[in-house]
Amino acid sequence: MGSVGAKEVPVLLSPDGKRIDGRQLDELRSMRIVAGALHQADGSAFVEWGANKVMAAVYGPREVHPRHLQQNNKAIVQCKYNMAAFSVDERKRPGLDRRSQEISKVIAEAFESVIFVEEFPRTSIDIYIEVLQANAGTRCAGVVAASVALADAGIPMVDLLPAVAVGKVAGQIALDLKKEEDNFGEADLPMALVPQSGRLVLLQMEGHMTAEELSKSLDLGVVGCRAIYEKMKQALRDRYQLGGPAEGASA
């Protein structure tokens, strides 16, 4: 493949079909989810996914500040996705940037489609997602963490929201990209699925794909999401079945 700038492009797919970390094309990274990790928030969750470490906290429903944002007939959903300065190799300058704003918006809208917002008029459901360590797929890890946190907070929803990024590496469709695959691959497709209805409430793409590759990616992503869904449920059962602090579901 040759060099890109000063870095050498890694071999993303070996001749025997193994990815850079030894995974198969349809294999997820290991995942651990702990529901209720924070006691102060109304709901919370901590997710370790591959090398990602993401914390989500939910407050609400609660009064809206500033007041003019409130809706008479429903709750608003606000999301703040943020990457800690130390979460990436090259220090990320703290504070809002365009990417964080975009991700925050996209995640808030995804949850707005599944939360029964009409039950809490004139309130706000606030979701905070903090990325402590990043290795591709952080917005998906954030959605997973936030979804578990919302359930932990007792917010009524249609379903939990599993999410995963599918991509194209070395010409092949692969599930759950890691950092090198995201950086040097040909396409990245994060998505979030509502298992109850089979619908997607988050879908974005960077890169290039044919229509057929897209279709294949969506199918693969749905399969990945359903597997993640089971882990999310298990994390919540671990927390509430015994009533104490959760050990979390292991991959």
Binding site: D42, A153, P156, P195, A227, Y240, G243
Partner: protein
């Protein structure tokens, strides 16, 4: 298996682990399908194309004619006649706003107090940060929570501290016919006001307040296990002042909790006694 709960994941994907039962009450998660068995879907559920699903994380409860999910988490949802402990968060010209741990703040109108107040003088009676015990009067269709301070045992409280627990655990703090709260109060010499909203006001000698706080933490974290009353009594007894000459702490005897058998037509409806809210798990 207990209720014979139908697997909610048939044909929906990998796994399909049936929800586990917790003492005859099944834990359900948002999106899990519920077998209604002819009952009407109630709070905590929703229907799509003839099928019923849970909307909140909680315990499935079948009490004819309704099947509902009792949330195990979530903010306090006010009900008329509940007594709650609140904190003043804002002072307006004719009313105050109270934080009662609910999704919205509750306005307390100046006419809902025993004082004769002129418009604009409200700050002289209640200021931001003050703690009050009020009763929920009404909830209007827009969700506005009406509260009043007129009534026995309602009013401003001075001093002391407010402990916050999950509203779901309040019935355990009160105990059957108030037995738990009476034990706490008698043992520690503290005055205690328990709000249905999970806010508990405590005032008394410093060491008593520490013991109440710890006992409440015990109840919140271990409330779902059996023998709670004995364990709380044990904690209180072990932390007594060495000079305390009183006898052993009486723990009221009561029959062991018997979960309804799966063939029961259903539990009796709530009759508004002490144990409002989810039954002990």
């Amino acid at each position: 298996m207990g209720h014979g709960h139908r697997r909610g994941h048939r044909g929906r994907g990998p796994g399909g682990v049936p929800p586990r039962t917790d003492g005859e009450r099944t834990l359900v998660l948002p999106g899990e399908e519920i077998d209604v068995r002819g009952l009407q879907p109630g709070p905590g559920t929703y229907r799509v194309e003839g099928r019923t699903y849970a909307s909140v994380l909680g315990l499935l409860s079948r009490r004819p004619p309704v099947v509902r999910v009792i949330p195990l988490s979530g903010r306090y949802l006010p009900k008329p006649q509940d007594i709650v402990v609140g904190t003043v968060t804002d002072v307006q010209t004719t009313f105050w706003l109270l934080d009662i741990a609910a999704p919205r703040w509750a306005p307390l109108h100046m006419t809902g107090t025993p004082w004769k107040i002129d418009v604009g003088e409200l700050g002289q009676y209640l200021r931001v940060g003050d703690t009050v015990v009020v009763a929920i009067e009404s909830i209007d269709p827009t969700g506005r929570i009406g509260v009043t301070m007129l009534g026995d045992d309602l009013g401003k409280v001075d001093g002391g501290t407010v402990v916050t627990i999950s509203p779901a655990k309040v019935p355990r703090v009160i105990g059957r016919s108030g037995s738990m709260i009476q034990m706490l109060s008698a043992e520690t010499g503290c005055r205690i006001a328990v709000g249905q909203n999970g806010r508990i006001w405590v005032d008394g000698p410093a060491d008593g307040m520490v013991r109440v706080r710890e006992a409440l933490r015990l109840i919140e974290e271990e409330g779902q296990r059996s023998g709670l009353t004995e364990r709380v009594a044990g904690y209180l007894g072990s932390t007594r002042d060495p000079n305390d000459a009183r006898g052993p702490i009486p723990t009221p005897t009561r029959p062991p909790f018997e979960p309804p058998s799966p063939l029961d037509p259903g539990d009796e409806p709530d009759d508004g006694d002490d144990e409002v809210g989810p039954a002990p798990f």
